[in-house]
């Protein structure tokens, strides 16, 4: 009896030991990954569900509080076809020559990407997703052509956000990479520049927005003599749609180029010098070294930092909110700002619906970005 029980215990113990031995490798590996996943899950899954629910409902103030009514897709219908259409999608018109050019060039790029995917041989599901992605891109192009570059057209918050994101992120990447490259060239005094270039990022976005409001003031700001000189003395940002947009893009670029700068700087510094020296011995010039040795080495980090900046840039709110209040009209109103304005007036349903539209838009763009670049990276 005793021994039988002992055997049973020992057997169980050895079985448990074997189970752990089988899985110890897996367990150790899970131990690396799980803590991070759990923290993200804890904070983000619940809000994701709740805001999805909110986007399908309407908040009503009633006596002694509020109630939430489920109204299905009405919030989205309102955005796409109802009273908020002109703010969300914009006002359409016949495209100008430039508009047709944009639609044509973008459409050609989409078709080219699709053809390449077809040639590359993808699964049926992959093909369906690519077609859907291309159709989505086509709709966005059509929207840009018919609102931004159109006679009598006015871009809605979607198009305005897209303009902010693509122009600002491109500028920031170019600046960040250029500056990071220059401060890794063994120049005396480069430490000074490295710290100075980080400064804009260290200011809280609200602060940057107020600072740029000071700087952009054509009457009391420091650039007033320049404004007077170029004949903009009576100019106010509330009059010019493109002026206001440029002001927002300049502010965003000023603030976030350091983000690109520091990440690319670390990537450049982590690069091994042996291949560079070998290239010099082989007689490569500076551009060739940069193009064929440095760029491939930092490409993964560069792609990632663009992706992160892309996602962050889609959430732009403080600059347009404080610098231009989204104006003139809705010329600088981003999706997040529109969502914030609805939210401030307690229209939580519409606010969440706009946020979810942003989520869908960014998810499609991120997936397209990752898939296009993965195929590209795989070819190299």
């Amino acid at each position: 009896m005793e021994t039988a029980r002992g055997d049973l215990l020992a057997g169980t113990r050895s079985r448990i030991a074997a189970w752990f031995a089988d899985r110890s490798e897996t367990l150790v590996r899970s131990a690396f990954l799980w803590p991070a996943l759990l923290v993200i899950l804890f904070v983000s899954v619940f809000p994701l569900f709740v805001s999805l629910f909110l986007s399908l409902s309407e908040l009503e103030l009633v006596r002694g509080g509020f109630q939430i009514d489920f109204i299905g897709l009405d919030n989205f219908r309102e955005l796409l076809t109802g009273s908020r259409q002109s703010e969300f999608l914009g006002v359409g018109g016949p495209p100008t020559f430039l508009g047709w050019l944009v639609i044509g060039a973008g459409g050609a790029a989409l078709v080219w990407a699709l053809v390449r995917a077809l040639r590359g041989g993808v699964s049926v599901a992959g093909l369906v997703f690519r077609f859907l992605g291309a159709a989505f891109g086509g709709v966005l192009l059509w929207l840009i052509g018919h609102t931004l570059f159109a006679q009598g057209g006015r871009p809605g918050t979607i198009v305005v956000t897209l303009v902010f994101v693509f122009v600002a992120v491109a500028l920031q990447f170019a600046l960040g990479l250029g500056l990071a490259y220059l401060v890794t060239q063994n120049l005396p005094g480069q430490r000074f520049f490295r710290v100075v270039f980080l400064l804009p990022m260290t200011i809280t976005p609200v602060g940057v927005a107020y600072m740029f409001r000071m700087l952009a003031d054509t009457d009391k700001g420091p650039l007033q003599p320049i404004f007077v000189h170029v004949g903009l003395a009576d100019f106010t940002w509330t009059n010019s749609a493109w002026g206001a947009r440029i002001a927002v893009i300049v502010g965003d670029t000023w603030q976030w180029s350091p983000f690109m700068f520091i990440v690319l700087l670390a990537a450049l510094e982590a690069q091994q010098t042996d291949p560079v020296e070998a290239a010099i011995v082989d007689g490569a010039n500076r551009w060739q070294i940069f193009r064929y040795v440095t760029m491939p080495a930092i490409l993964p980090v560069a792609l990632t930092v663009i992706l992160i900046r892309l996602i962050e840039a889609f959430k732009i709110i403080d600059l347009p909110n404080i610098l231009t209040s989204g104006g003139p009209g809705t010329a600088t109103e981003s999706l997040t700002l529109q969502s914030y304005i609805e939210w401030r007036s307690l229209d939580l349903g519409t606010s969440a619906a706009i946020a979810y539209s942003l989520l869908i838009l960014v998810t499609v763009i991120v997936l397209a970005y990752v898939n296009l670049l993965r195929t590209k990276a795989a070819e190299e």
Binding site: F42, V196, A355
Partner: protein
């Protein structure tokens, strides 16, 4: 000594150096001028700010310390408290995010995971159901236990049905996708979440939120930095019989220092400057500095002078940190580490 002289084949030519200095100098000017404007605005009286542009103290206008006195003497504790909060919350959340995120990033860069889609979907679905139940008034522990129990009961059946697995890339994409939703959309649910946990207006709530918000950035950046570290070094250590943790600690981490430092600076900046979540999760006790800055836009219009002081004292610690850590973002460790 001529700073333009060429000392190594890797250096730029003298002409190239001149151009480089011109570009760097120009951008420094672009960066520093707004900051200079902030500094002198903090020394101006309201009437001087409104009188039009005045550039040089003592020449164009008589500087005054009234704004500094207001922030440091009149407000004293109302400045000190948010400042301490900001420092504590930022350091705690950034360190946590860096540790957890780097571990996950290392795992995604080196190991292969094949989690089943069905199992994950089930887990998330029950977590969501549990959360909804909590909102509807079910006690928090009960909901958690019930959700986990249902999950474990059904997990086998589901994983037998759905054989699709996720790859590391899918996991990484899921992680970064958690940053897409704008803060406006998540503040209310997060508020409700921490209200249920009784953590409103505590630093803990801010630390948890910022850690979660910064993790995706850490995971993605560190994954790439780890990928640039040659596998040969770790393999050599493994051949010598080192354990996984030892390899990470003694081989990988020292080589990843430039990336770690850059990433740390980034998450510090994000946590230090975060505004909207702090606005909701803190009221008095755990208020952070960005709220104090925004509060200077009073009913009488923006108080530029106070705002300038606050922004300037907010920049100082980040600069100190950047100066202290910048040295670590430099070349050297990998030079000649791997002889091909």
């Amino acid at each position: 000594m001529n700073p333009l002289a060429r000392r190594s084949v890797l250096d730029l030519s003298p002409g190239g150096k001149l151009v480089a200095y011109l570009i760097l100098g120009f951008w420094s000017l672009v960066v520093l001028f707004p900051l200079y404007w902030l500094a002198i605005t903090s020394l101006k009286l309201p009437i001087q700010v409104n009188a039009g542009p005045k550039y040089i103290p003592f020449v164009d206008f008589e500087p005054s310390l009234h704004a500094w006195r207001y922030i440091f003497v009149d407000l004293r504790n109302d400045t000190l408290r948010p400042y301490t909060n900001s420092v504590v919350v930022t350091l705690a959340s950034s360190t946590l995010a860096l540790v957890l995120g780097s571990a996950a990033a290392y795992a995604l860069a080196r190991f292969r995971y094949r989690p089943k889609v069905g199992t994950i979907g089930l887990f998330v679905a029950f977590l969501g159901l549990g959360a909804v139940a909590v909102v509807l008034g079910v006690p928090f522990p009960l909901a958690l236990v019930a959700a986990l129990a249902c999950f474990f009961l059904l997990t086998r059946a589901v994983s037998r049905r759905f054989k699709r697995v996720m790859t590391n890339r899918d996991i990484a994409l899921w992680i970064i996708s958690q940053r897409i939703l704008p803060p406006v959309a998540v503040v209310i649910p997060i508020y409700v979440l921490f209200q249920n946990l009784g953590l409103l207006d505590t630093r803990t709530a801010l630390v948890i939120t910022y850690t979660a918000a910064n993790l995706p950035i850490v995971v993605w950046l560190m994954r790439d930095y780890f990928n640039t570290i040659p596998l040969e070094l770790e393999e050599a250590a493994a051949v010598d019989g080192a354990s996984a943790f030892r390899i990470v600690r003694l081989v990988t981490l020292p080589l990843a220092i430039p990336g770690l430092v850059a990433t740390f600076l980034l998450v510090v900046v994000f946590a230090w400057n975060e505004y909207l979540l702090a606005l909701f999760l803190s009221s008095a006790d755990s208020q952070t500095m960005p709220l104090t800055v925004a509060a200077q836009n009073a009913t009488r219009g923006p108080q530029w002078w106070y705002m300038s002081v606050l922004i300037m004292i907010m920049i100082v610690p980040v600069i100190v940190l950047a100066v202290a850590l910048e040295r670590r973002i430099s070349r050297g460790l990998l030079v000649g580490a791997v002889k091909a």
